[in-house]
Amino acid sequence: MLAIVLSSVAGGIAYFMPAAQLALDSTGQVIQVPTPSPTDLLTSPSPSSAPSAQPITGAFTVLLLGSDDDSKFQGDHVLTQSMILVRVVPSQQKVTMLSIPRDLYVHLSTGGYGKIDGAYSYGGAGAAIATVEQDFQVHIDDYIWIGLLGLIKLIDAIGGIDVVTSHPVMDDYYPSDVYSRDPYDYERVAVLAGPQHLDGINAMQYVRSRHGDFQSDFGRSQRQQEVLTAIRVKAKEVSPEDLPALSAALKGELKTSIGLSRVAQMLPLAASLDDPNAIRQLFLLPPYTHGGAPGGSLIADWGAILPLVHTYFP
């Protein structure tokens, strides 16, 4: 009997091993500077059994980071072109997403001033988190960093997403740097408008292109939030047993401080957030920001920004 139990546990370990490995790999890279809360995967006993799906009840804040990580960049020295602060309040079934302009001129946690998208390149996720915490006066519980290929693989691994593409993307000079040998090559892309199913490549084109957008980075932030919302909708159909395949697909393309068991806890939470009106989307358009800072960066009106942030990220 004991042998059967042990062998069954071994089967479970084998099944969840890819997910555990990914979590260990990615969380093992966490952070050089003061950190978010430690990963519960590293402290949890073993991934041998199916992850617990106890629902999350407390509010939490996650910093989502997205980077161009093609061969133009070396190692982890990448800019975070996408920075979105997400606050989830399970008890109220509310989600707030705040897009932080990548060109915002801020005091960096590693010292000095610069565009906020450079914080990660100077000190990894820890520096990015510390910079946002210090400038926006918020507490961040966790982070997720994803690269170009990671986003493509993630969306393909969940079978694509359904998006109402509000902004037709017509870009004659879209960077062709994900699968091309030349990281400076470019291509034409056309993502037509309207409700549609996007695979990873098309979703990436939709969130990354900014040439054809009158609002440039702000318009791109809106599209990024649309895709995030669609990923959340699709996550409702993902089961904990999908995690090994997902983690295998994402190996090396995603870094996070969130442990495997917490991911499993988040799945039912994603399923319960059903009301599209319960998702609040915030963008730091003028008058919250305006041009004129060094190097084409944006000046923040902290007097306006901080009350907004404190309202939704207490």
Binding site: G11, M170, Y186, G194
Partner: protein, 360 residues
């Protein structure tokens, strides 16, 4: 031990969701047994191939090589887009999918300047078969690539084409032309705040109409955020998809007098819906949407006309026993019959940016 360990592994694997299963080819999976046989022949696109659906069976008309957005010409030919990596062109196919001729030629020798290429989308042939309408990315300027509405002789070339309207810069432009008497109905993308100071500066779709002699006239409110117009066979209604600047869509029908839209009727709400298309005999509307209770690749759905047509006026029941001059009892309203849409396919993945074409 080996057996129980393997069994555990397999059991866990069998509990995975089916989210990442690729869609089946329409010809491999027939419509659901209980699905109605739709009238005429419906043309759809999936994975770069055009399929027809007639008498309950799908037929693959083209190879999977970039074919999309089929449209029917008055003589029964199919006009479709063939999309390549950097450009697209229009072709005329016979009803069995054989290429008869190429209408546009946007191909170029391989050029390092990708800005020299052109897209053409959304072909639509006029009722008299003499004119073809399309969305073409000319004029364009560097990063400002927008589609504009063009018309050209059906048997001519784009050099004989005429530009209709003025697409707004950096918006994606004007798309989805539908020829109407004396002009064209189309979808314009523009920033809502340019039309209403109370609205956010977000890009929205609006139905417009133009007769070519004046700037397009707005038919829908920017806050409605509408697209995908389709005129009913009797010419009295327009079906469209409105999203109200959210990540959901509403199938909406509006009355239509040839120049203005009237009262809106929401037929489907709070889901993702695309490409409503009227049956030529007026028996209903086909559209694309994810399968019931799922997100995921788009399936073919059918909405019988009873779901949106007004019910017939109730006729008072004659009082037994002969003429009666008093007040007749108020007829009780007929029971409300809720007609639900019918999901025709279950595991396909139709291109939701490709309008459906429906031949009688």
């Amino acid at each position: 031990m080996v057996f129980s360990g393997t069994l555990t592994y397999i059991a866990l694997g069998s509990r995975t969701s089916k989210v990442a299963l690729p869609p089946a080819k329409p010809t491999e999976a027939s419509p659901r047994a209980q699905a109605p046989s739709l009238p005429g022949t419906l043309y759809l696109s999936q994975e770069g191939a055009i399929y027809s659906l007639s008498a309950g069976r799908f037929h693959q008309l083209t190879s999977e090589s970039g074919w999309t957005q089929p449209s029917i010409s008055p003589n029964g030919d199919i006009v479709a887009v063939k999309r390549s990596a950097y450009y697209s062109d229009l072709y005329v196919l016979n009803p069995f999918g054989t290429v008869k001729r190429r209408i546009t030629n946007n191909s170029q020798p391989r050029n390092s300047d990708t800005g020299l290429y052109h897209w053409v989308f959304y072909p639509r042939v006029s009722a008299d078969g003499r004119t073809i309408w399309l969305a073409y990315d000319k004029p364009k300027f560097a990063y400002d690539v927008v589609l504009s509405i063009w018309s050209m002789p059906y048997s001519g070339s784009l050099s004989q084409g005429r530009l209709w309207g003025n697409a707004a810069d950096y918006t994606g432009g004007d798309v989805q032309p539908v020829p109407v008497r004396g002009g064209v109905l189309y979808t314009k993308y523009d920033y809502a705040s340019r039309y209403s100071a109370n609205l956010e500066s977000r890009l929205v779709g609006m139905l417009f109409i133009t007769n070519g002699s004046s700037p397009g006239r707005q038919l829908t409110n920017p806050a409605e955020d509408c697209r995908d117009p389709a005129i009913s066979p009797d010419g009295t209604k327009v079906a469209m998809i409105c999203t109200y600047m959210k990540q959901i869509s509403y199938l909406t029908i509006a009355s239509w007098n040839g120049s203005k839209l009237g009262v809106r009727q929401t037929i489907l709400s709070n889901q993702i819906v695309a490409q409503p298309t009227w049956a030529p005999d007026g028996s209903g509307i086909a559209y694309l949407a994810p399968g019931a209770g799922q997100s995921g690749p788009f399936q073919l759905w059918w909405l019988p006309s009873a779901a949106y047509a007004p019910p017939p006026a109730p006729v008072p029941t004659p009082t037994p026993g002969g003429p009666y001059n008093g007040t007749l009892p108020s007829p009780s309203p007929p029971p409300v019959v809720v007609i639900k849409p019918i999901q025709v396919t279950t595991n396909n993945g139709f291109d939701a940016t490709s309008p459906l074409a429906w031949g009688s």
